[in-house]
Amino acid sequence: MRCAFSLASFLCFGIANAWAAGGAATAVDDGQWTMPAKNYAATRYSGLAQINAQNAHALHPLWTFSTGVLTGHEGQPLVVGETMYVVTPWPNVLYAFDLRKEGYPLRWKYRPDVSANALGVACCDAVNRGAFYVDGRIVYNLLDGHTVAVDARSGRELWKTAIADLGSGETVTMAPLVVADHVIVGASGGEFGIYGWLKALDLNTGKTVWTGHNMGPDADMLARPGTFRPPYDGGVDVGATSWAGDSWKTGGAPVWGWISYDPELDLLYYGTGNAAPYDPEVRAGDNKWSASVLARRPGTGELVWAYQFTPHDNWDYDATGAMVLADLTIAGKAVKALVHFDKNGFAYTLDRATGRLLVAAPFAHLNWALSVDLTTGRPVIDPARQTGVSKGKVAGVCPSLEGAVSPASPPAYSPRTRLFYTSTNNLCMDYTAAHATHLRGTPYIGVDSPYHPGPGGNLGAFIAWDAASGRKVWEDKESYPSWSGALVTAGDVAFYGTLDGWFKAVDARSGQMLSKFKVGSGVVGNPIAYRGPDGKEYVAIYAGIGGDWALLAGDTRSDDPTDVRAPADYIKDIARHTSQGGIVWIFGL
């Protein structure tokens, strides 16, 4: 296979092993969790099966650790061999726990010098979405715009590279992905009008190898004639000509979510965030490639295809959610698919070799569009939900700009059940766009968008989804927006956490509750499963509410006597059930 001649054989084996989970139910699981989403296919599927639907009722907490940080604990730990690695939100401390010893004492901790100024430039909270282990190194991003590589054995810093510019509104919250000797990274800043990009750094030195922008002229996008073949809406310099004037230069399209990779096609996939500012009338056109999925060659950065979920984004519908790679059977035909649950409320199934749309169906309540046309790939938009300064207040747009699912809450896919599992949100909004001035280093937003509950009486849910047919299979309703990632295992158990602080295990085939435990703070992190040094299966999750201050109203905080806030009217009693606090939990039988 492709990696055989370019990589050391053990790494090649690692990739093959990690890749296998996306395609085959029978692959042997090594019991580790070395990448943010378990494998390159981003399935968050663990092949471990000791914990199953019959015994999961006996799950109980075995160990906890306070990170000492109070902001939102998104992301997930890594387990490599006999060590667990945890990255905190700002100030981005990296902890290494020795899983062989009682109480899991620290082997070391690494405390980088991260600028506090980043706290005011990160739009929504000081989160970090996790680290990547490769070849004896832990690689992760710092909020103030740096990537670091740390020796996994000693905790010593190997290199630190400035990748983003705080002064222009860039921060870094995403989890990197490493392919061969390239570390793939991107920046947040869709609320600051950045010129969004993806970069590759040299794994050995940290030096930048290539930078591909998400919009702009073909040269900036690394889109070359003949090799860039979008299935719809192509054209020379479409990344610039689909924006009024030079509005693409401050158009956002940040990269703050997840990256996946198909080693057979040699393509990496990532989603881009909202177009900036939130008043769409100052950037007439499709605004390609904001709110899109892009496929690039990891070696050169070359753009191969792109598909835009929300042309001319009117509603802050970032497409930074995970791109999960799974081999599906659609209408009797085997398809190498890419599945994506978008903020805009549609779940998309694409052909990941070409970007062509195969299935698009609502997984949550939405009304900004009526459907997605499978021939043109474009949404059929409801003109009454179009926004802009000239439109004034546009009431009752669903979903809200928090998304039908947060891109921070990645789904899981089980090759056994052939189902996807994801958190969902059920909020709508009244959207009033306002003029925004682009002032470097300050927010470039311009919207007032109060939320209200969607229909049905629940603010969130955890669902199972058939991406081949575009059909919801079951749904567990939640009282609050559901903001955690999903995990599914070969024991046919799915795991997730809730905003009011429950960690739950449910039957992956029926959705039936198997066990739940109150973990001390709302859950916005992603569960993982691993095999400990004692050969037993464990499940780990972060507690620590945060990640979006608009969502949380701020009355879940008690850490600043000079900042007290009233509850938000759509989620009045969340602070009755939870408050801030970063805790790592490990559960077992």
């Binding site: 100024n117 682009h438 300050t442 927010p443 009355d555 806030r565």
Partner: protein, 156 residues
């Protein structure tokens, strides 16, 4: 570029409005760089406050300036961090009557003019003293809520 044009236009309007009312000193006078200031909220060693200049808000209590400040609050993207009407988002609530760096006019002025740690940008360079005083006048006009310190879910 367009930022500066917008600002110049905005501040010119402010100046005209002020002149029309003939109640305030001309904008040029209030646009002078501020002197060094002391922060009342700090503890002074030996109980002795260090000497410093005194900052006086030329628009204190002026409802028309407060209204302009509300527009400036949106136009300068303050709401992007502090929320609509300063109700708090990633930046602290500015309408709760509580202040990290002091809530007197001069203290709020310093916070906006020079910026603060944890990401509050310095707006003095782009807004000038009078623009900052306009924002101060707006923020000081926000009514402090009554029932924030205690949240209760019990039936009375």
């Amino acid at each position: 570029m367009s930022v500066r044009r917008t600002l110049v236009a905005f501040l010119a309007c402010m100046a005209l409005a002020s002149c029309a009312r003939e109640a305030n000193p001309p904008a040029a006078a209030t646009n002078a760089p501020p002197p060094a200031v002391t922060y009342e909220a700090h503890v002074a060693a030996g109980g002795i406050e260090p000497t410093g200049g005194v900052l006086r808000n030329p628009h204190a209590g002026d409802a028309a300036v407060a209204k302009s400040g509300a527009q400036l609050f949106t136009a300068m993207n303050c709401d992007g961090c502090h929320g609509a009407q300063g109700s708090g988002w990633v930046g602290p609530n500015l309408g709760d009557g509580r202040w990290r760096y002091g809530g007197a006019d001069a203290e709020v002025f310093s916070s906006i003019y020079y910026g603060r740690p944890k990401g509050m940008p310095a707006f003095g360079g782009v807004l000038g003293a009078d623009g900052v005083w306009t924002l101060v006048t707006y923020l000081r006009s926000l009514p402090a809520p009554g029932e924030v310190p205690t949240e209760s879910w019990e039936q009375p």
